[in-house]
Amino acid sequence: MQRGLKILTVAFSVLVVAVLLAIFAFRSPVKRPEPSQGLRKTWQVALCYPDLKASRLVKVSISISAVSERRLIEELLERLKNPEAPDLSPALPSGVRLLSFQREGDILVLNLSSEFTQPDFWQGSDVAHLRLQAIVYTLTSLPNTRAVRFLVNSQTPEALGGHEELSEAIEPDPSLQP
């Protein structure tokens, strides 16, 4: 009887240790390897462009492989400058560069170079709105991204073309759903 009790006690102790180890193992943060050249990830993205008449947005679904999210965003910005199809128009001025980016919850904050606010590119209410929304729709197709905030040289820029306010994060305009 005494021996049986001892065996039961040892068995319980082993179980307790196992459960504790399991809990700690689940709670320990998993260290992910830093992205490297050899480690590419593929994203499904919906690129959006204004059509040539600037009357609506057109969606092009693609998958992009990149080694990091920064590279992915740079790639998207490049593609937004130069649509492949002839019936689409660019959504970003040429020459814009991504200086940095960060995430604030589900808001993607882009810090762009000063070419972004080039006045000629943002003339006309609807053209400007469609172009800006093309960028927003494209970037909010990334996982966990609800809205986009724009900075230029780390500063909040003035209204874009006199039509679009950039002091707050911009969400997709539902009336333009491509």
């Binding site: 319980f12 459960v19 689940f26 006309g124 209410s125 609807d126 306010e165 539902p174 009336s175």
Partner: protein, 546 residues
């Protein structure tokens, strides 16, 4: 010793159990996503606490001590208790897991709920995802006078109207049903006498769930929603009409009560109705004359404790009259409702009646922001948008003041006023209307011309429509449409507000017109007439012969 060990082990196992049970779950309810819901997974099926996610199913529910009373959108009531293993929904007995109660909160078994309501439950325990979708149960197609009528039956009412559209090369039309899941079924063949070649169905998206119906054709098609019916078993039937694109004949599918709140109600006249609707007001009754009878019976199922007390459709020969009885006096107007048809918007009359109306006139751009500029043409000076908008704004101010209005301008000289400041001026003054004056520009000079008016809130549409109509009448330019856009100034102002783009500064012909004072005066007069018509004061100008 043994007692102590037992307590420790039991405590640890309980901790582990709670940790596993409360893993955040993503719950997709028809078209809506609920993340991080504390769904419990340690039972026979996932359980979600009673909460707002039930509203996504358009359910009404009342929590009682011993269970929950539900009412479906089809008005079926059923009671689900802590002891129920069977609930009766619309005369149908459905086996369910009893409700679970924890800390006075009822947890609803999700698979059982789906079974009771006629939904499909897609459960992924590894990824902690549960999807409740309305299953597509059947598709029928038949040839009718107007074209091909396609009817799709779903197991449960969908959250929104389907989105329809057409695509070219090859020609095809589609309808997207949000919140739906594809089941196995036989698709009918298209009627032969139309340019239709094939029907297809697919699960277009998994998050949100969207079923896409596609009609392939060998010529351009048009597709429109024609009507909706709630089925006797708690489901929903959507009718689509497919026609050759060149067919522009009028038709009237159905009248639906889309919204019925204490301050606002919306009827939608589904169809292609070209003529302007005549809305007549008789004390607390509105009578809307419609030029033809609808194909389907009216759907007033949204009727509740709102502004609309009662509504019925009366036929008179080939025509129909929609009679709406209101709980209090209200204003009504009609507006285009996307591809669906025409909406009749009814709004409770505002208690505040001002003696003098205040309009905020916003001259676009200014100061360091010149706006658009015309291209250099010979010796002519380039036109600058900020100068012209200010000129037109001053003209508009003079005309409005002449009609007895108060006018506040967001700028009176060449200064830069940030957009939030322009909005603050209008909102702070509690203006009755806001009009932002701009001149358009197109990336390729000369590539576009004509008139556009932008608005955002539904209350702004009548103002936009009125100004647009007068701009077209007085300027004679091409009408590019009244567009709903989230432009900053029309989005953030709280009164009816529009942004007007009467013409293009970088189109050669319109640039020449803008150089003329007479043309700029006509722009101001058209905007003024639009505002006055919106407020029902147009006769002031007409009396003066302007």
């Amino acid at each position: 010793m043994r007692f102590r060990l037992n307590i420790t082990v039991a405590f640890l196992l309980a901790l582990l159990g709670v940790a596993v049970a409360q893993t955040p779950t993503k719950l997709l309810v028809l078209g809506e996503t609920f993340s991080d819901l504390p769904v419990f997974w340690d039972a026979e099926e996932p359980l979600a606490p009673v909460g707002s996610w039930l509203a996504a199913l358009k359910l009404r529910w009342a929590v009682r001590d011993d269970g929950i009373e539900f009412e479906t959108p089809n008005r079926f009531k059923f009671f689900w208790s802590k002891a129920s293993t069977v609930v009766t929904v619309n005369g149908r007995n459905v086996e369910v897991t009893p409700l679970y109660q924890r800390d006075d909160v009822f947890l609803v078994p999700l698979v059982s709920l789906a079974r009771a309501l006629g939904l499909t439950a897609i459960v992924n325990p590894e990824r902690k995802v549960v999807k409740l979708a309305s299953p597509l149960k059947s598709v029928e197609a038949s040839r009718v006078d107007l074209g091909c009528l396609v009817s799709l039956v779903f197991g449960y009412p969908l959250p929104t109207f389907p989105k329809t559209g057409v695509l070219r090369q090859p020609d095809r039309a589609y309808a997207d049903f949000v919140g739906a899941a594809l089941g196995s079924m036989n698709l009918p063949s298209p009627p032969e006498s139309l340019p239709l070649t094939n029907f297809r169905l697919g699960q277009f998206s998994d998050d949100p769930l969207i079923v896409r119906f596609v009609a392939d054709a060998n010529a351009p098609l048009s597709i429109r929603v024609m009507g909706r019916e709630l089925t006797k078993d708690g489901g929903e039937k959507w009718h689509l009409i497919l026609q050759p694109a060149e067919n522009r004949s009028q038709w009237f599918g159905q009248v639906l009560l889309k919204e019925n709140n204490p301050t606002r109600a919306i009827f939608v006249l589904v169809g292609r109705l070209e003529s302007k609707l005549d809305i007549r007001r008789e004390t607390n009754t509105l009578v809307v004359a419609v030029p033809m009878k609808p194909v389907f019976a009216p759907d007033f199922s949204a009727q509740g404790d709102g502004l609309v007390k009662n509504a019925f459709l009366a036929s008179e020969g080939d025509e129909a009259r929609l009679v709406i009885e209101l709980s209090e006096p209200a204003n009504a107007y009609w507006q285009i409702e996307g591809d669906l048809g025409i909406a009749i918007v009814i709004e409770a009359a505002s208690p505040r009646q001002k003696q003098v109306r205040l309009v905020v006139v916003d001259a676009g751009h200014g100061g360091k922001d010149p706006g658009a500029m015309s291209p250099q043409r010979g010796d002519k000076p380039r036109l600058i948008e900020k100068d012209l908008t200010l000129d037109i704004a001053f003209r508009l101010k003079r005309l409005l003041e002449g009609a007895g209005y108060k006018v506040l301008m967001t700028r009176t000289d060449d200064t830069y006023v940030p957009l939030p400041e322009r909005v603050a001026i209008a909102n702070g003054a509690q203006a009755d209307a806001f009009v932002s004056v701009h001149l358009n520009s197109y990336p390729q000079p000369g590539g576009q011309w004509g008139t556009e008016v932008y608005y955002w809130t539904p209350q702004s549409y009548p103002l936009a429509e009125s100004i647009y109509r007068h701009l077209l009448a007085l300027l004679g330019r091409k009408g590019n449409g009244i567009r709903r856009r989230q432009l900053y100034v029309v989005r953030h102002t709280t009164m009816p507000s529009v942004l007007v783009e009467p013409c293009y500064l970088n189109h050669p012909e319109e640039e020449e017109l803008l150089r003329s004072e007479d043309f700029r005066e006509r722009i101001a007069l058209a905007i003024c007439r639009g505002i006055l018509e919106f407020f029902g004061d147009l006769r002031v100008l007409e009396r003066r012969g302007e």
